[in-house]
């Protein structure tokens, strides 16, 4: 298995970012993602990059805004309470069309909560915890390898669409080790130039401006229409999902860590003769509605499982729109559901206990 290395999720993510051409990292410590800034503090100077431990999450996201606006691939990472503090900044990035990657290794909330893994920031990530009509692309990787893979994709899409991209992990994904194959490093100098970025005019061109202020309502709406057109394009092109056992009658919808556990439960359920499949969104926004459409014709029921008390289930319900029962099972606050618990819920669904 040459090329494989055993890495902690947080460190693999950080190394993948460096290989994706990220040279600027701005962060503020918070458990359970400290290995990301710690790794970056050692690694970035080696590749001519810069690491700053910012004075706060607010400062960090605004440094990303500055660096991203200046044309660089920049990243920040945090966990739940820290990500709440970044919402104004993310809204600014979305509005000013500044690319950048924001990692949230979700922990139990609300409030100070706990530090164990959770998925209860789904609403915040997919609906925009900040103000205004904006969205961010959101990835919900399920393995350390997938985390590495989506990091590259995140930087690519951030630049392509000039938009902030969120990677929604959780404490478990960040802390666990798994073998990964790391991608070939990209030299940031080889990336296409960004004519819109602030670099100094050099006296050779008119000034560029990175801005989100539109005092005239019609202009502000026009900015929004531009964003919405972009979002429609993203929805059309960038949905990612995995379907295991697509010919099933019942489906469990889950992402990230939870999806791994659901997979175990599904294996057991199938062993017991139930025709159950897994529908695993990889992009949480755009929500992979198309994947749902491919199975909805024959689906007799959906069970959404989350480490939250019911967030992604709304997206499932919105897609299913009454065409099949949708039930929900969730644990929260850092409790990871067991495959046995999920198996019980699967059997309830199969026996018709699913609620709309």
């Amino acid at each position: 298995m040459s090329g494989k290395v055993l890495m902690k999720g947080n460190e693999a993510l950080a190394e993948a970012a460096v290989r994706a051409g990220c040279r600027f990292f701005f962060g503020y410590p918070i458990t359970p993602q400290n290995e990301i800034p710690e790794y970056m503090s050692g690694r970035l100077p080696e590749v001519g990059g810069q690491f700053i431990q910012a004075e706060s999450e607010l400062a960090a996201i605004n440094m990303v805004y500055g660096a991203g606006g200046a044309g660089a691939r920049a990243m920040t990472s945090s966990s739940s309470p820290g990500v709440s503090l970044k919402q104004e900044g993310i809204s600014y990035m979305a509005a000013a069309e500044v690319p950048g990657v924001i990692v949230n290794m979700v922990r139990g909330g609300p409030g100070l909560g706990g530090i164990q893994p959770a998925q209860s920031d789904y609403f915040q990530a997919t609906r925009g915890g900040g103000h205004g009509d904006y969205r961010t692309i959101v990835f919900g990787p399920a393995t350390v390898q997938e985390m590495v893979d989506v990091v590259g994709k995140a930087f690519e899409l951030a630049d392509k669409y000039r938009t902030p991209v969120v990677i929604l992990g959780d404490g478990m994904l960040g802390q666990m080790m798994e073998p990964v194959v790391l991608p070939e490093p990209i030299d940031p100098a080889s990336l296409p130039p960004k004519a819109w970025a602030t670099t100094g005019t050099g006296g050779r061109r008119p000034p560029v401006v990175i801005n989100s202020l539109y005092l005239d309502a019609a202009e502000c709406e026009a900015m929004n229409r531009r964003l919405q057109a972009k979002y429609r394009e993203i929805c059309a092109r960038e949905q990612m999902a995995e379907i295991a056992f697509p010919d099933s009658e019942y489906f469990v919808a889950a992402y990230g860590t939870t999806a791994r556990i659901c997979r175990m439960a599904i294996q057991e359920a199938r062993a017991r003769g139930h025709r159950v499949g897994l529908l695993r969104p990889v992009t949480l926004w755009p929500f992979p509605a198309e994947a749902f459409e491919t199975v909805i014709g024959r689906a007799k029921g959906f069970l959404t499982v989350e480490m939250s008390l019911g967030q992604m289930v709304e997206d499932v319900r919105l897609v299913v729109a009454g065409r099949a029962p949708v039930s929900f099972y969730g644990r929260t606050g850092g409790v990871v559901p067991s495959s046995d618990e999920i198996l019980i819920e699967i059997e309830k669904m199969v026996e018709g206990g699913g609620s709309m």
Partner: protein, 269 residues
């Protein structure tokens, strides 16, 4: 001398012309607002140091929010209070660029307190133009941290009462305590002579960046005649009679003066 001659008279020596780094537009500032003077000084210094082509400015939120339309350089508009963080991001990406923020007293001394202190702490090679007009101008005249004791504002309708609303914050005195601050000075935009001194300070604050001495900050005592409820002329006089006693003018720190390369920080880049 009609207003239509835009040509330079042949053979005449230029005493004053519009700086090239200032965009050729009319600003939205109220008549007599000294924000316009501060803009001009910054542009003059950019021209004199010949760095407009590598300048990147950061506009903050306040009356000067539209500064991105007024300077003839690349600009980023920053969230309220976060300009020093935004500028830090830019400067680290482009260490050779000349990066400055332009911030009001609400922006820098209220919501953005942590950002300015920490940019100074890090010794970021940035230039900060800090407009102290003792009020939140943009939002209609509320108290600023720099509002004087007993000064009436829309949120201190009976005058600022220290027992409830505290005391004016002296930014230069506070920032100059930090080792990463390279140049810290306060000047006033209240008269031609004070403006001349202000310009020197602005120039020094840019030179501090160019020399790698760390953060250069100039506090400019400014007027907001509209929200102070005064005529433009009275507002300038109030700066001199009421503000300067609370905010003494002068240079609070100048690491370049310490001479010696010893004082010079490595350019963070």
């Amino acid at each position: 001398m009609t207003s239509r001659d835009t040509e330079r008279p042949l053979g005449a020596e230029v005493v004053y012309e519009r700086p090239r780094a200032l965009a050729d537009v009319v600003t939205h500032y109220c008549p007599g607002c000294t924000h316009g003077i501060a803009h001009r000084l910054v542009a003059e210094v950019l021209d004199e140091l010949d760095v407009a082509g590598r300048a990147i400015g950061v506009a903050s939120v306040g009356c000067s929010v539209l500064a991105y339309k007024y300077f003839n350089v690349d600009m980023q508009q920053a969230a309220h209070g976060r300009a020093p963080a935004v500028a830090t991001g830019i400067k680290r990406v482009h260490p050779e660029a000349v990066v400055f923020t332009y911030q009001g007293d609400g922006d820098l001394a209220a919501i953005g307190t942590a950002e300015i202190i920490h940019a100074a702490m890090r010794g970021e090679n940035l230039t900060v133009i800090f407009i102290n007009n003792a009020i939140f101008g943009m939002t209609g005249g509320q108290m600023a941290p720099t509002t004087l004791v007993a000064q009436k504002t829309t949120t201190t309708p009976r005058g600022r009462d220290p027992a409830r609303a505290g005391y004016p914050i002296r930014v230069c005195e506070m920032v100059s305590v930090l080792d990463g601050a390279g140049y810290v000075a306060r000047a006033a935009l209240s008269s031609p002579s004070n403006i001349a001194r202000a310009k020197k300070a602005v120039r020094k604050a840019f030179e501090s960046q160019l020399g790698g001495y760390g953060l250069g900050l100039v506090e400019l005592l400014s007027s907001c005649n509209v929200n102070w409820g005064m005529s433009p002329g009275d507002a300038l006089r109030w700066i001199e009679t009421d503000m300067i006693p609370v905010y003494p003018l002068g240079v609070f720190k100048d690491r370049s003066e310490a001479g010696a390369e010893a004082a010079r920080m490595e350019v963070a880049g």
